[in-house]
């Protein structure tokens, strides 16, 4: 599971993780549940249907498949699988029953979504697991606790019956060592705060927390260096660049801002370390995230020891 504050690059990191875990001949499934088609945009393919499709090849062989999980489709599939109720699903759709359930009890929708994740994780073919790893681009930190703590969410609503049974089954997988929730952060104040809050919340629910994944890390240029106008003026002249007062002043200001930023980043990194979770770092991509950038991030994860069991 990959969560993180909105804007931290959670979908990108989830995709890079699915690539890294598939490296060397493995097969992974990358899932999204919020109907955003973020995976399709990232891999630059048409919107994903409700079917598992191969979306990329992984470094050194291996493949990533992707699926956009839709609560309605998941329900129809579920009804068909367990009750042989093909027609019933259509009737439910016609009456808007899913919207109904999602509105009065969003926990029920989450049971359907996490139920599909469980199904993919535990699916076997000829005695073998179909996927070496399943990576979920999960809801953001503000909603992750509710989303994953499905039993608590439906407990007040369904004290017995099929929903209760299903949510208990999902919860058992989520609390098992098969699951790991990774939290994506940036070296910025709000994301670090939300990372800390999410880890506290998840720990309370008994769902295993994995790593803190620090995204968009820049090389710490200028760390510890003292920048003076005189030195810059000399250096610029030596490099054959204009060294007028305005240019020198602008560059000194930029260097000062940059160092303020570095000091803040150091402090924030320290706060993340204090959370006591293993940390992974992903480099900042100056040209924005494209397909090539995803492989760069996947390689960075592989180099830090990320691999499927």
């Amino acid at each position: 599971m990959v969560t993180g504050k909105g804007g931290t690059g959670k979908t990108t990191v989830a995709a890079a993780l699915a690539l890294a875990l598939a490296a060397g001949g493995k097969r992974t499934l990358l899932l999204e549940v919020e109907g955003r088609q973020g995976i399709a945009q990232l891999f630059d393919v048409p919107p994903l249907p409700y079917a598992e499709r191969k979306i990329a090849v992984a470094p050194r062989g291996g493949e990533v498949r992707a699926l956009a999980v839709d609560a309605e489709e998941a329900l129809l599939e579920y009804l068909d699988m367990f009750y042989k109720l093909g027609r019933a699903g259509k009737a439910l759709k016609k009456f808007g029953a899913i919207d109904f359930a999602a509105t009065i009890a969003p926990g029920m929708r989450d049971v359907l979504l996490t139920g599909k994740v469980k199904e993919a994780v535990t699916r076997t073919e000829r005695g073998h697991r179909v996927y070496d790893a399943v990576v979920l681009d999960a809801p953001p930190t503000g909603r992750i606790g509710r989303f994953l703590n499905v039993t608590a969410e439906v407990a007040g609503l369904a004290r017995m019956g099929p929903i209760k049974t299903q949510s208990d089954g999902v919860m058992a997988v989520l609390r098992s060592p098969m699951t790991s929730v990774h939290v994506v952060s940036l070296l910025e104040e709000m994301p670090v705060q939300e990372t800390s809050d999410a880890i506290t919340e998840l720990t309370g629910t008994g769902i295993p927390v994995g790593t803190v994944m620090v995204n968009a890390v820049r090389a710490p240029a200028l760390a510890g260096a003292r920048v003076t106008a005189a030195e810059l003026k000399r250096g610029l002249t030596a490099a054959g660049l204009p060294a007028d007062k305005a240019t020198v002043k602008a560059l000194v200001d930029e260097a000062t801002d940059h160092r303020t930023r570095l000091t803040l980043e150091e402090r924030l990194r320290g706060e993340l370390e204090e959370l006591g979770r293993p940390m992974l770092e992903l480099p900042f991509l100056p040209d924005g995230v494209d397909l090539g950038g995803l492989y760069t991030l996947a390689d960075a994860l592989c180099e830090q020891g990320v691999s499927a069991p």
Partner: protein, 375 residues
Amino acid sequence: MNAPPRLDLDAVVRNPETRIVVCCGSGGVGKTTTAAALALRAAEAGRRTVVLTIDPARRLAQSMGLTELDNAPRQVKGVNMVNGGELHAMMLDMKRTFDEVVLAHTEPDRAEEIFANPFYQAMSSTFSGTQEYMAMEKLGQLRAADEWDLIVVDTPPSRSALDFLDAPQRLARFLDGRILRLLMAPARTGGRGVLKLVSASFSFFNRVITKILGAQLLTDVSGFVAALDSMFGGFRERAEQTYNLLKTPGTAFVVVAAPEPDAVREASYFAERLADERMPLVGLVLNRVHRTGALDLSAEQSLAAAQRLDAKGDSPITASVLRVHADLVQLVARERRVAARFTSAHPHIPVAEVPAEPEDVHDLDGLRRVGAALA
């Protein structure tokens, strides 16, 4: 390409005709900060102002004296009041606002019954549209009280800026909707807790739901729906009233974005939607914009010069500074390209830029700096 007109929000918030400012935009773009900065600016210019925030960052909330969810505005300390204005702030308590709506529309006994129902509890404290509906509801209440010169509203942290406009009606449609009426049928015709067969297809539907949900749960749903009966029409009516309030001339929409592709795309959708709805958009606030004072020194020039210095073993500090500058110039260029996606599609919408600061805003002085950038 021509630069877009410059947005002067000072003129907007000082104008006595402006009674409501709504800050919209996708999550994580600084809506709350923008709303708070505009409210502070208006208060210090002499207007009696209230800012309704939804989910402020902890330190920003503390700086305004907001330590807990509190459904009534509280005066913010440290505001300069020489011009006769005041700033009050409140954080939306979604559940309590929902309870108030129920109480306003139903008998106390019925209200107790609704509050005790597990479905009401789940629905009134989760986010699928409830937050947006309640934010609009609270805005309607504040406006109706007519105690304020200006109300500034921060919108909920939804994925899409459009949710603020759509979610309340979605919830209202649902609460007045077809499914509920179907489920209601037994209560109306006197059957208690058991769903009567109102039609062949419904009976089939009913069997399916019973099978999936279990009988106990259906009884709860049915009870919830029956209890809500007295309120039918109320939700939709209120949602429509507030929606119409947003179309009145005293309302000004501000769309907020950061110079990032997703945020700018959302801002564009939102601007188009407001135009369709004939709702008054005053402009775009672009937060966290990077700037350089040495734009003439290009990234390529800087990197090449840094390499020359490296090769000579001369002034490694200058080489590092040049690399930092090259990164910044590239970032500035990328942000401009992203912003141009909005400004070329909407060349007449005024834009105000707030420069990026190394640290987040978390005190009144920080808000004043943002406010000054918006003026």
